[in-house]
């Protein structure tokens, strides 16, 4: 397996490359550290609106010519805004990579941000916000984050009706200047391309970039508590938020393996106890998440109102039961599962580019798959049991959404 190379340009931009010589394609992810977390409170939703507005023309091209130029290189693309950053991802054939990077340099460094597109960008943002109401699980997860974090990590990526309606072109342009710059931005590339080729292209097109860097505030949390969101749905959505160890921590992979024992495969504890033995739900699970310097575990389930309190009770018991430790067989299954995940992820240039960019953002370095595998394999039964006894998963924030409040 390949070891990623990391370079930092004079202006602070990081370039990460993992060569996959067998791969006829190449993918990249450009991560810009602008997200909900550095939206000023009165401008919530700004990072997300800005991401949409960027596509309305850049450098010498208007929006349509820009899209046509990417299409002419066969570029499949996506962009998205999250809590901490905005990503721009693309997949294409390697010979088009330098030309595609040139276009993305225009997009990030020289967007036109035209006045006449601003109202349609606002209209899209308002519709996206409204659509959250039609997605019960997504809505609950948003509430859960807002309840748990008192720092800006709890701010909604989509913004609020008030902040979106108050947004102006001048304010958003200032946000672009303040938050889009080479410092903290990561260009991560994986696929059938040599690192030297990538470095030269990034240097040529992004080397002259100057711009701001907003940074992230420290995480602050409320006291764990429960809450309910009333909505006329068929199912009650249940979400639990637990504090966990941060990425880079000695026990990070012990915690990952514990999450996998809870919810990795169909023999995992939550699936077995909640769905297989009791038939309480169709979907149940727990997934680890993190922001810079802080880790959390979110458990979720959806079930009909009359079974919601049983479901919640079983989930809480299963998760707090982790403190009693795990069996060797469970740990072995979790390890082989994570190992297979790594191998399969290694087949996909898209998955690798995204993981490298995230690694670089969260940890300040990019790891090859072998290094991650070694960290996973290093976790012994004693180590995970010791971790679980010292760090019991208890006292979560608990949220429900649905027609009845769950006791």
């Amino acid at each position: 397996m390949a070891v990623p190379t990391v370079d930092t340009l004079d202006n602070g931009l990081h370039v990460v490359v993992e060569e996959q010589p067998w791969n006829p394609g190449v993918s990249f992810t450009i991560l810009v550290p602008a997200g909900a977390v550095n939206d000023p409170p009165e401008l919530q939703g700004a990072a997300s609106m800005l991401e949409t507005w960027l596509w309305k023309g850049a450098g010498p091209r208007d929006a349509r010519l820009f899209a046509d130029s990417l299409d002419a290189l066969g570029v499949r693309r996506q962009s998205g805004t999250g809590i901490e950053y905005t990503t721009f991802s693309a997949s294409l054939l390697p010979e088009g990579l330098p030309a595609a990077l040139e276009l993305y340099a225009d997009l990030l460094m020289r967007p036109r941000l035209p006045d006449d597109a601003f109202e349609s960008v606002r209209s899209l943002a308002l519709q996206e916000l409204a659509a959250v109401e039609d997605q019960p699980m997504r809505k609950l997860m948003q509430h859960l984050r807002r309840e748990a974090f008192t720092s800006s990590h709890g701010q909604p990526v989509e913004g609020t009706r008030e902040t979106l309606e108050a947004m102006t072109p001048a304010v958003l342009r200032a946000e672009h200047a303040r938050r889009y710059g080479p410092e903290g931005t990561i260009v991560a590339v994986a696929g059938g391309v040599e690192p030297g080729v990538v470095r030269r292209a990034v240097e040529a097109h992004f080397g002259a970039w100057r711009g701001g860097r907003a940074g992230e505030p420290p995480v602050a949390l409320s006291k764990p508590h429960g809450f309910h969101v009333s909505q006329e749905t068929e199912q009650v959505q249940i979400g639990l938020f637990y504090e966990d160890v941060p990425p880079g921590h000695y026990d990070f992979y012990a915690a990952r393996l514990a999450a996998s024992i809870l919810s990795g495969g169909m023999s995992s504890r939550l699936f077995t106890e909640v769905r297989e033995k009791r038939g309480l739900v169709y979907s149940v699970g727990a997934s680890p998440g993190s922001v810079k310097g802080f880790g959390y575990l979110i458990a979720y389930a959806g079930t009909m109102p009359e079974r919601a309190s049983d479901t919640l009770e079983v989930i809480r018991q299963v998760i707090s039961g982790l403190r009693e430790g795990v069996t060797r067989a469970e740990l072995d299954r979790a390890k082989v599962g994570l190992r297979a995940d790594l191998v399969l992820a290694g087949e996909s240039s898209r998955a690798r580019a995204a993981a490298l960019a995230r690694d670089m953002f969260i940890l300040g370095r990019a790891r090859g798959l072998e290094e991650v595998e070694a960290e996973v394999m290093d976790v012994t039964l004693d180590r995970i049991d010791l971790f679980l006894s010292k760090h019991p998963y208890e006292n979560p924030w608990v949220g429900t959404l649905g027609p009845v409040e769950v006791a």
Binding site: G25, A63, A67, A72, S91, R122, M266, A340, L344, E347
Partner: protein
């Protein structure tokens, strides 16, 4: 692209076995593609294909449900199953050394025990799954539109069934459905990735020798699209959801790739005609088009979602774009861009072992042929505007059904 080699064989019991072998791959995948789905259900069986897919994981005579879950996880397998109108697929991907064990497990599961207590517990899970989708307006829209568009044709039936049909279902019905549909002549066993063909074939023969033989028929009643406009209220929606359905191309015909490129010209999410008309202008939050292939026919779908206040404007804009496509076809520039993008997607469809398994297995199940991704890619790159025009002549967007879901509160 990696040097891949294709193999196919028919076992003495009639089971078709195929493999796309790539010695450089780091993983191996296997899947049973059973040619059965909601369209093959008879009255009283609505949702039984999908319910059976769940019951398969509850074990065989040799294995309990727990054994099944444990063994998959012991291999670190990425595995699952899905059911649609015409196909039920069980698959897994593993590190190459686990392939024999994966094959043993998957094969054993094709002859499920179907135990009464598992049936009752899984019935509840299915009812929860139905409830889950009833909270999602887009899923509700597509189910209703499909029922209306296909009318009395079997493709109209919902894959999950209904709460009523699932509540009434009996285990004996499932046994008889399994005996009727899970026959060697109605299944394909597909492999992809790093494996030795001769070994895999030999194992497959041993593991499936006692299986029930035979072919399972499928009904192909005539179909006449029923154009029109339906407008339903839905109390769980706050946004407008609308879909347009028009006749397309069957999964057995090569022209399906032309149809996909045409759908891309119309409704690519970044640069399609609908994007510029509806999303770039802020009229709708999203507006996309795609082509879906069924066994003997296909369908073009347009989907748009947005502010209910724009309901008429969105509908009008989509109609005009469909009309413009009928009247003036496509330009060679936009065809050039769309086919290049489609060709790039085909390269990435070959990236992972699991996506190759789906591609090879599903195509072969429909066509009985192996179409290498490279060949399809060349085919797509050679498309000319007259291919698209021929398609437009054959498939008339005037026969479009529009189905809208609007919030109750609005009226």
């Amino acid at each position: 692209m990696a040097r891949v080699e294709f193999h196919e064989a028919t076992l003495p019991n009639g089971l078709k076995v195929i493999a796309e072998v790539n010695p450089e791959a780091k993983s191996a995948a296997a899947g049973y593609f059973v040619r059965t789905g909601s369209r093959d259900e008879v009255a009283g069986e609505e949702g039984i294909s999908h319910f059976l897919e769940h019951m398969v994981f509850k074990g065989s005579e040799r294995r309990s449900a727990w054994d099944v879950n444990r063994e998959f996880d012991e291999m670190g397998a990425k595995y699952n199953a899905f059911t649609n109108e015409e196909m039920t697929v069980f698959y897994g991907a593993v590190l190459p050394e686990f392939l024999p064990r994966l094959l043993d497990l998957l094969s054993d599961l094709m002859q499920p025990a179907l135990r009464e207590e598992d049936f009752e517990s899984e019935r509840k899970v299915i009812l929860e799954e139905i409830a889950l989708y009833r909270d999602r307006p887009d899923a509700v829209l597509f189910e209703r539109a499909q029922r209306r568009y296909f009318g009395s044709h079997p493709l109209a039936r919902p894959v999950l069934g209904t709460p009523e049909s699932i509540s009434r279902m009996r285990l004996a019905q499932m046994r008889s459905y399994h005996a009727r549909r899970y026959l060697t002549g109605n299944m394909t066993l597909a492999f992809a990735g790093n494996l030795v063909w001769e070994e895999a074939l030999l194992l497959a023969e041993t593991m499936t020798s006692g299986w029930r033989r035979g072919k399972a028929p499928r009904n192909y009643p005539g179909f006449k699209p029923r154009p029109g406009l339906e407008r339903d209220r839905f109390d769980k929606a706050t946004q407008l959801y609308t879909t347009f359905v028009a006749p397309g191309v069957s999964a057995r015909r090569e022209e399906r790739y032309t149809a996909r490129v045409l759908a891309e010209i119309l409704g690519d999410p970044d640069n399609g005609r609908l994007f510029w008309r509806l999303v770039d202008t802020g009229l709708a939050e999203s507006a996309v088009a795609f082509h879906h292939e069924f066994d003997e026919l296909g369908a073009f779908y347009v989907f748009a979602q947005g502010d209910p206040a724009n309901e008429e404007a969105i509908s009008e804009a989509v109609r005009e774009e469909l009309q413009r496509l009928r009247a003036s076809g496509v330009s060679s520039e936009e065809l050039g861009r769309a086919k290049l993008k489609a060709a790039t997607s085909l390269v990435f469809a070959g990236e992972t072992t699991l996506s190759r398994l789906f591609y090879v297995g599903a195509n072969y199940s429909y066509t009985g042929r192996y179409e290498p991704l490279d060949a399809v890619r060349r085919w797509v790159l050679h498309l000319e505007t007259y291919h698209v025009e021929e398609l437009l002549e054959e498939h008339d967007f005037a026969e479009t059904l529009e189905y809208r879901l609007v919030p109750t509160a609005k009226d």
